[in-house]
Assembly symmetry: C2
Homo-oligomer: 359 residues x 2
């Protein structure tokens, strides 16, 4: 740690590590205030805290006492940062994190930062070492500059792991599935069941997952000499309402697909429920496939054919990676753990039968 | 605060407040260690921390600095303590807490204590004022002695609110529904739909909710001169597996009920799905009712008739009560907020028709 030079400082000539006095002068406050702002942020005014934080950022100040005490100060607790605590998709991820944490006697706490406050929450939590590490659920990333600073503070990889939607350019360890491959798996299953006109209820706008699952489906169709008709590509999203809306558009089509792959299980359930209201039965009249294999997919009527996303295992793996960092067992500097998905054939997809006039 | 006498101290003659030195002597450690154990528990050995905590408990020691600084030290954060973070039942409660918290610029964090560690987590969090308050989800209670101590520390009601399963003898503000009345509401609906042989898939063993919902159903039947046949009372629980198991027992009956009220929606879904596998269709052959109105109840096939438990509102109310305590607006010392439930008639219950031989 002491050998690390502060290369990224804005003040190019300054190779000396900035002191707490430097931060205090830069912020125009006392050193005691700097210390309180960093270690007990609740005790200073928000404006002061922000001024100190700006000085810390500008000088790339590293709290030496915090750094020195890391090993002794283990809190045996990690923080999970999630954008929407109420989302049932997260339930099994939380459970996986929790079980792995319990096995190592770590407590977990889950926080839901105010919109836009994610980065600040992660940095302040790690700087003050209130927890031993942080898991960021998908959608939350952190800037390279922040990582550089944390790297210096921790004299190595900061204890930060993401559950991610895509490989992208993340510079921290992360756990993910290959969503394009998974979409392709779904498409191949529908093709194998004899379907030729296949539709898709898409994931939420502007998400990597939307593109990846759709592209995977396209690939499976192309392999079979089929294509994804623009009329058969429905807006949907990741909830039942989106699936219902897609069903309403489906009903207006003259030439309907015989099978529809929905971007997740909740959308598939909404799609099926809405068609049911219009007298269209799944799988009698139409095959429908979901994605995720949520707890209730198996309990739906019809039981939902879907792609299993190993969410509990993803949570476990993320927590495992984090413990590897905390306990200095990490070999690979930025490991990426890609977990396999698998098809779960149930009752909502059936073989297409051209002879009968309808499926 | 300074006027409060330490009446509950075990040492009857001692009306002086114990000092940090008293705690240190009692625990056989230095005052610095006591301070660290209370304010930065991660920095001392677990054994030492426990020794200090025992001394604090024995002497009813109140950290004067913490007490003095409460107003200044507002963290604008509250802790939610839940036994099973991965339970989808909690999702909407979390969301309600989160929305109310955001409206007042409070951050929330959710913690899942190790088994048996709930009381310790709550006490240490409140004593060290790391958050402004705690919401305990159902099933977690705290001893009267702890409350006495917290009351003294906070010079008034401690910032502690429960989402509770029953009125019971809880001495802290809590939010709940009347589960017996709700069970009665379900029963009256089935009776009003013409059903006379009504069954019940019960909630988990040894829970107040199990007794209350079953008793409510019994009351509704008694009002109509009907009774709950012992053969029609199934073990179930709060998940789909329990509902499936109940369905298997249902199938062995010679004289089956024409309607079944399940203790929650997940059990109802499992019950229906399992009957579906055996060719029994709901509501054609049997009416089934759930409880809770979870997000997917509406999206089930058939859409589930159920009793709406206002979980998001319960979360909001609990957070609102907590803010009232934190911000000293509380009029009633131990308010109990009972929220109304309502029936949601959908497709899984239909009128019983004696004429047809089957429903």
């Amino acid at each position: 740690m002491l050998g690390t030079k502060n290369r990224s400082s804005g003040r190019g000539h300054d190779v000396k590590r900035p002191s707490i006095g430097d931060v205090a002068r830069h912020a125009g406050v006392s050193t005691a205030t700097v210390s309180r702002a960093l270690n007990a942020p609740g005790t200073v005014a928000e404006k002061t805290r922000r001024k100190v934080q700006q000085a810390v950022d500008a000088l790339h100040y590293v709290q030496s006492e915090t750094a020195r005490n890391f090993k002794k100060q283990r809190a045996s607790a990690v923080l999970v940062v999630a954008s929407d605590i109420g989302n049932i998709y997260y339930s099994e991820i939380f459970r996986g994190i929790q079980r792995r944490a319990e096995a190592s006697n770590y407590a977990i706490s889950i926080a839901n930062p105010s919109p836009g406050g994610t980065r600040e929450m992660i940095l302040s939590t790690l700087r003050t070492a209130r927890v031993d590490g942080v898991i960021i659920l998908s959608g939350h990333q952190i800037a390279d500059a922040d990582l550089g600073l944390l790297r210096q503070l921790y004299a190595g990889p900061p204890p930060l792991v993401a559950l991610s939607e895509e490989r992208g350019s993340l510079k921290i360890p992360h756990v993910l599935i290959d969503n394009e491959r998974a979409g392709c798996l779904a498409g191949r299953h529908l093709v194998a069941m004899g379907h030729k006109r296949i539709g898709h209820v898409q994931g939420p706008h502007d998400t990597p997952v939307r593109r990846a699952r759709r592209n995977g489906l396209r690939r499976a169709l192309a392999e079979a000499g089929l294509s994804l008709d623009a009329d058969h590509l429905f807006e949907g999203g990741f909830n039942a309402e989106g699936g219902r809306a897609a069903a309403e558009r489906f009903l207006t089509l003259e030439e309907r697909p015989t099978a529809v792959f929905c971007a997740n299980d909740e959308a598939a359930m909404g799609f099926i429920a809405q068609l049911h209201h219009h007298g269209i039965a799944v799988p009698r009249d139409l095959s429908v496939m979901g994605f995720d294999d949520i707890a209730l997919a198996d309990t739906y009527v019809p039981a939902l054919t879907t792609v299993h996303q190993p969410r509990e295992e993803m949570g476990r793996e993320a927590m495992g990676l984090l413990l590897d960092i905390i306990e200095k067992r990490l070999a690979d500097p930025v490991p990426v753990v890609e977990l396999p998905v698998h098809l779960v054939p149930r009752d909502s997809v059936r073989a297409f039968d051209d002879g009968s006039g309808k499926q």
